[in-house]
Amino acid sequence: MTEKPKLGVYICHCGINISATVDVEALTEYALTLPNVKVARHYSYMCSDPGQLLIKNDIKAEGLNRIVVASCSPRMHEPTFRKSIQAAGLNPYFLEMANIREQCSWVHEDRTEATIKAKKLVAAAVAKVRLLEPLEAREVEAERSALIIGAGIAGIQAALDIADAGFKVYLVEKSPSVGGRMAQLDKTFPTLDCSACILTPKMVDSANHPNIELITYAEVEEVKGYIGNFEIKVRKKARYVDFDKCTGCGDCASACRVANRFASEFDEGMGKRSAVYLPFPQAVPAKYTIDPKSCLYLTKGKCGKAPKCAEVCGAGAINFEQTDELVEFKAGAIIVATGFDVFDATGKPEYGYGQYPNVITGLEMERLVSASGPTGGKIKVFNGAEEIVPQEIAFIQCVGSRDKSVGVEYCSRVCCMYTAKQAHLIVDKLPEAKVRVYYMDVRAFGKGFEEFYDRVRREGVRYIRGNPSEIFKRGNKLVIKAEDTLTATPLEDEVDMVVLAVGLKPRSDYRTTMELLRLSQSPDQFFLEAHPKLRPVDTATDGIFLAGCCQGPKDIPDTVAQAKGAASSAMIPLAKGKVTIGAQVATVFEATCRGCGFCVSICPYSAIELVTVNRMGHMIEVARVNEALCKGCGSCSAGCLSDSIQPKSFRDRQILPQIAALGVLR
């Protein structure tokens, strides 16, 4: 480090690309006048083998320890020259390039002007290279396992892929069962295959796979570390049912004193469940859970003389003493597959959702038409107090999508098609019923979508282009007030039931996940991918990937495709067993750091944290960089008031002399 700098400056002609405009000889002479420059040469193609050999020989013969190459853009050949000086025994980071081709000879015509500019660029490179420091890229071991948060179809698919490749997977699900939103659906568009039929085998696989550790009814509480070395804490919530003893017989649920009194989450509140429950018949794991918010014993401390569930449980699985359990493990990669919520239709009060029982959402409709649903697949709704089989049915699309008035500008991508599918199912089940769809545009862009849409229309479903303004009750009918914008006719449409095609929203608890993993959001509040085109499953943090609707609305095939993409990306560090840590990272000078944490807030990669250190008996906080997470952007540094955090190779003390060198030649 203390070795006095001995510089070599190498000026490339690039054939005549540079030398036609820049006087390379004058430039070489000038370079020799600069401080610490021992050798300056010009050559026709510096990047050629003989060109590189020239540099290597000088390093050995003249004892050069810093190299400036004035040639093309560093974006082009920096790696080339780094390698060649490294081959000659120099640290590869003792190189600075002056871009005298793309940003000089190719853009200027006047030889004098271009030569002056080239001199300044070389001077700046000399000024900087004198002060560069030797750096080293490092490799660290990677944990060969993955954490997947969310066990919907995205999480399950990613888990199965990674597990099949031979790596350990921790699949963590918040609710008592895997399956997610897809399990709630009846048929899938446009093929109409039964959602449960294609999903349940995968659910079962995810529970039985030897490489998958399925952790349901649990939440990730803490994630520390970095790619290859995440340290994770998961809270397994108390089920009050012994997981190993429970046989899933269901006796407890029938015996429960408050049996079938509570809205079933799975049935979107249309069905009822007991305080001890299985979310749905095909739930995996088929283990009962006591909801602490509805159980009499857990809320009131008393349930008759003794809780009935415990009395009837032959396996003796009921255990009110159970407490939350913390599980800790390490993972090399994380896939976030936390899914979505649907738009809360009460946000559009003009449609009367919540006010009229026969105004329902698309997801409720899924449960209504499902054979496993609360009505056993029969389409019936309450109209006031009376239960009816609707004959006049309207769908309203884009409820909570493409609607700035509720703060949702995006298209939810699935509503057009699920509406078409549900319309078809109604026509199928109630051949007499009249179905119409109020729409803005129909987006049938996927494979087989347009054909399906066409089929539904042929089946007699009427599509009316217009956005209803209001729904109100007249007699025992619901009246939709709208305008058919194709014929410019105002209309009042009397119906028995309205289905609101609600859009997809980020999960209500997205902020917890965001803060847990320091994810970013796109303007639509879904999690932000690292690049919209080229890194659609990556996040800004290495080793954390996105799959499914948490990144944005998508249908099942897209979700599965992204899950598979995320799985294969996550497997890269797992397969390599190592991760490389860049050399040009930020570093903290702790002696001057005042621990304000500005850098911590600024860093988009959560690469900086405040740690407490003992400074001569005083406990003080200072910033510390996790080199594995740092990308070397340097934003922290420009925001540091005491200049205590600096990106290597782009330190202030390396850049300021560059500025000075450019200035003095004015």
């Binding site: 853009s73 560093p74 974006r75 082009m76 871009n99 081709r101 793309e102 940003q103 000089c104 190719w106 853009v107 200027h108 015509e109 006047d110 002007e113 271009a114 002056i116 500019k117 300044k120 660029l121 700046a124 970013s520 932000l528 690292a530 800004a540 040009q584 600024i602 988009p604 990669y605 990308k631 070397g632 952007c633 340097g634 934003s635 540094s637 420009a638 925001g639 990106p647 782009f650 202030d652 850049i655 300021l656 560059q658 500025i659 000075a660 450019l662 200035g663 003095v664 030649l665 004015r666």
Partner: protein
């Protein structure tokens, strides 16, 4: 014939967008004035606003900082930080009497070779109109 004043301009370009855009301008053989020299930094967020002051002190007549368009930052947020910091610096410099034409900021993407040319032309033209920076230039003082 009176000699036209040729301003000296120091530019800070982010590696991923603006430096690449400037390279593209070269590859496309776009012509622009030779008054501007670029210093490559990884991100516009790296540019400490005090670099601008330092450049003016050390002989620059104008300073340009260029980064990725909002939302396109390779590091996601660096250009947003740069925008806030440099926006305030601009206010400050103007308030202490530095001609606002001496300091510009731009968004130039890797595909905007032609925009880069326009930005350089505008920067040079403005600095030329503002004249040689004497203000608090170091060498103006007994140094």
């Amino acid at each position: 014939m009176s000699q036209q004043f040729e301003p000296n301009i120091v530019a800070f370009l982010c590696n991923w967008c603006s430096y690449a855009g400037a390279d593209l301008a070269g590859t496309s053989r776009v012509r622009y004035p030779a008054n501007l020299q670029a210093i490559r930094v990884m991100c516009s967020g790296r540019v400490n606003p005090l670099y601008v002051m330092n450049a003016l002190q050390q002989g620059a007549d104008g300073v340009l900082i260029s980064g990725c368009h909002p939302g396109d930052c390779h590091y996601m947020e660096g250009n947003f930080h740069a925008r806030r910091r440099l926006g305030m610096l601009k206010e400050l410099l103007e308030f202490v009497g530095v001609d606002p034409r001496r300091f510009h900021m731009s968004w130039v993407s890797a595909s905007e070779g032609h925009k880069w040319k326009e930005v350089v032309e505008k920067t040079v033209e403005d600095a030329r109109a503002a004249g040689p920076f004497e203000g608090f230039r170091r060498r103006r003082i007994d140094w």
